[in-house]
Assembly symmetry: C2
Homo-oligomer: 205 residues x 2
């Protein structure tokens, strides 16, 4: 590909900004993320981002939306990959969820951070809710297929989600003191914890 020497127009600045922000988030965390540095890394001046995002929060909201899309896509894939095996579906989903948290913790926290729901983040919430509905769907189907004990699928999904989310948050904020000593297979332990919770839904054998 030919690299023209600094064309005045970037061509795909919006995505470049999102990508730069993603990298800087991973490197420095949200509180050290400056829009100017994002612009700098995208090779553009400090005012340019405002042509694509209303403000800094809007950029983060777009990032969050993309994150939930990716999460939802991976979950849908995991569900399709293991039809009629809710246990395997849940395990795959746990891996994806915890994996995203571990891969870029500040990004994960941006996704689940506080929203300005009426304005800036109004496109994020629906995608986030879809994630929850995918999960609920697994439980509903597992119950009608007699794999899981019959109970309210929404509540079961809530319970599983909360466990997974709690593990993720405690992991990335390093609150698992004793468990995260070096040499400890922490991720395996967390996956197993989620797994056991899922087994609580099984029809007893």
């Amino acid at each position: 590909m030919k690299t023209k020497s600094k064309p005045y127009h970037h061509g795909d600045l919006r995505n470049a900004l999102l990508q730069a922000a993603l990298e800087l988030l991973a490197e420095s965390g949200q509180e050290n993320l400056s829009l100017r540095e994002v612009a700098l890394r995208a090779g553009v001046s400090s005012g340019a981002p405002y042509r694509h995002f209303e403000n800094k929060e809007a950029l983060l909201a777009a990032l969050a939306e993309g994150g939930f899309r990716r999460l939802e896509g991976a979950m849908a894939e995991a569900i399709l990959k293991h039809p009629r095996h809710p246990g395997r579906q849940l395990r795959a989903i746990s891996q994806v969820y915890l994996g995203m948290a571990e891969e870029n913790p500040p990004f994960f926290k941006v996704m689940f951070g506080p929203y300005d729901e009426e304005a800036t983040h109004k496109d994020v919430m629906p995608v986030c809710e879809k994630v929850f509905w995918d999960l609920t769907g697994i439980f509903a189907k597992a119950m009608s297929d007699k794999h899981f004990r019959k109970q309210d699928p929404e509540r079961s999904a809530l319970s599983y989600w909360a466990l997974l989310h709690g593990l993720s948050m405690l992991l990335i904020d390093r609150k698992l003191g004793g468990f995260q000593r070096p040499g400890h297979p922490l991720m395996g332990l967390l996956l197993e914890t989620a797994e056991r919770h899922a087994q609580g839904f099984l029809i007893s054998v």
Copy 2:
């Protein structure tokens, strides 16, 4: 009490700053918290806080430490209040935990936020870990008393904590879409969710 007109020395500025920060956190959130406003509310100039805290992060760390002390104290009290009744102990602890999250969400997030563990937050971690050990103690005792099925108490505590923490975080970041419609008794639902998880540990009757 006699109110002297602006003595040069505040007398208890450190606590006044912490209190002001707590209030401003509740009102505006962490990202809108400025040290200058904290100083202003405490009736003091913008440089004064630096006589009591190395920097803004150190003030937040002190706040976090106080928060964990309060949480740990309330947990210890709940444990003493219901001897030999691990189920009631856990329910009381869930109430305290979710209650703190709901009472001042930004403060709760400061407590569990990312740490600079080697320097600024080195006094916070031990108190946080004590919270986890209190929880582990409940499970260990409940198992040796044959109230809970015998398994690794640390893992059980981790599982319960993660569930509780996940519920708290999803609650305060308003990610429970369908559940937090107005008129829904959300807190009751969350407490019940934690309760059911605890029942999973019971020796089957």
